[in-house]
């Protein structure tokens, strides 16, 4: 079996304040994913390596890492795709807790801020909410997010200013705003209208490139700008 060299950024806060690189030669074939390679290292080579993972099939969104500088899901990227040494780092733009484990707290705060769930206080809330296929089609493509955070590592604006609500949170806000069953748009618009809402985005577009579920967050955020501009106009006429 041939081997491939994985160069992994290690960070062990108990031992050193700065990260260091460690190389591992991992056996692989055409079906070996980055995640499987990390598992192999942990089981057979160095049990101290830390990283997050769970489902192995691009559903849980836990195993995001930087592979040769690009945000990737470990389970959805394969060693065969990379000639030469593969550089593995923790997801960019987040504080690192240990090795490949990042602190996602700020991402979770941004998600919570946009209330990404159905808000509907109508009287007949015991009734099921009917929705036509056309109404579903309006938001469907923005509803596949798995909260993996790759888009935040792809976003230089989030890297420059972590207060920016960021691609996933703004996309989910847009997804619920487009849902015919939802009534929470007014509450979410207050967040979108902020400087750190949709307006920090400069349509770099890399978030949509790296999204493992092809959600196109860049489109959602920029449709959010149109909504925010409309919201400003409506607000001017209401007064």
């Amino acid at each position: 079996m041939t081997t491939k060299r994985l160069s992994i950024q290690r960070y062990l806060p108990e031992q050193s304040k700065t990260p260091f690189w460690q190389d591992f030669d991992v056996p692989f074939d055409d079906s070996t994913s980055i995640l499987e390679a990390l598992n192999h290292i942990k089981e057979d080579m160095d049990g101290s390596l830390s990283y997050r993972w769970s489902c192995r099939m691009a559903i849980c969104g836990s195993c995001g890492v930087m592979v040769n500088g690009e945000p990737k899901l470990g389970c959805k990227s394969f060693l065969r795709e990379y000639p030469g040494t593969i550089k593995i780092e923790p997801l960019a733009h987040f504080p690192v807790q240990k090795d490949l484990i990042i602190d996602m707290e700020i991402f979770l705060e941004h998600l919570a801020a946009v209330q990404p769930y159905l808000i509907n206080d109508s009287e007949d809330s015991t009734q099921t909410h009917k929705q036509t296929p056309a109404q579903l089609a309006k938001y469907l493509k923005f509803s596949d997010c798995i909260n993996c955070g790759l888009c935040y590592s792809a976003c230089p604006q989030f890297g420059l200013n972590p207060e920016f609500l960021g691609p996933a949170a703004l996309t989910l806000a847009h997804r619920y705003n487009l849902d015919s069953r939802d009534q929470g748009k007014a509450q979410r618009m207050a967040q979108l209208n902020r400087e750190e809402g949709v307006w920090t985005c400069t349509f770099v577009g890399y978030c949509s490139e790296v999204c493992p579920k092809s959600v196109d967050p860049a489109a959602a955020v920029n449709q959010g700008k149109v909504e925010s501009a409309k919201d400003l106009l409506i607000n001017l006429f209401k007064r």
């Binding site: 420059l160 967040q191 209208n193 902020r194 307006w199 700008k225 400003l232």
Partner: protein, 121 residues
């Protein structure tokens, strides 16, 4: 962690940026091609832009549309991108950059429109 929620004034600048972006893409290529390349290179006769003819072209209603679509709106587009570019390069404070950038766009738009008014007097 409730924060005071402040609405951004960015929709105004973004609307001007977008309108300018459309003009930069649709009107500016033709303007550069004819005014700054074909005529100066002699591929079209230079008399195309003789003094009297240019005056009557520019200081007319279509000339006013030209000033709006090729000077004023693209200026706002350019200054918006320069402002955000400075932020991307971590140069200066955004608050100051914003005032200077949009201030310049407004100033030169006024200069262009003033020229148009003077040309019609």
């Amino acid at each position: 962690m409730e924060k005071r929620i402040k609405r951004s004034d960015e929709p105004i600048w973004w609307a001007l940026f977008s309108a300018g972006g459309v003009c930069f893409a649709v009107f500016v290529p033709a303007a550069i091609l004819f005014i700054a390349l074909l005529i100066p290179l002699g591929l079209l006769p230079v008399e195309t832009l003789d003094f009297e003819r240019s005056r009557s072209l520019l200081f007319s209603f279509p000339g006013l549309i030209f000033i709006g679509a090729v000077i004023c709106l693209p200026l706002f587009h350019a200054m918006h991108r320069i402002r955000h570019g400075l932020h991307d390069l971590k140069l200066g404070r955004d608050k100051t950059n914003k005032i200077i950038a949009y201030g310049a766009a407004m100033l030169f738009s006024v200069v262009a429109l003033l020229g148009f008014v003077l040309g019609n007097m």
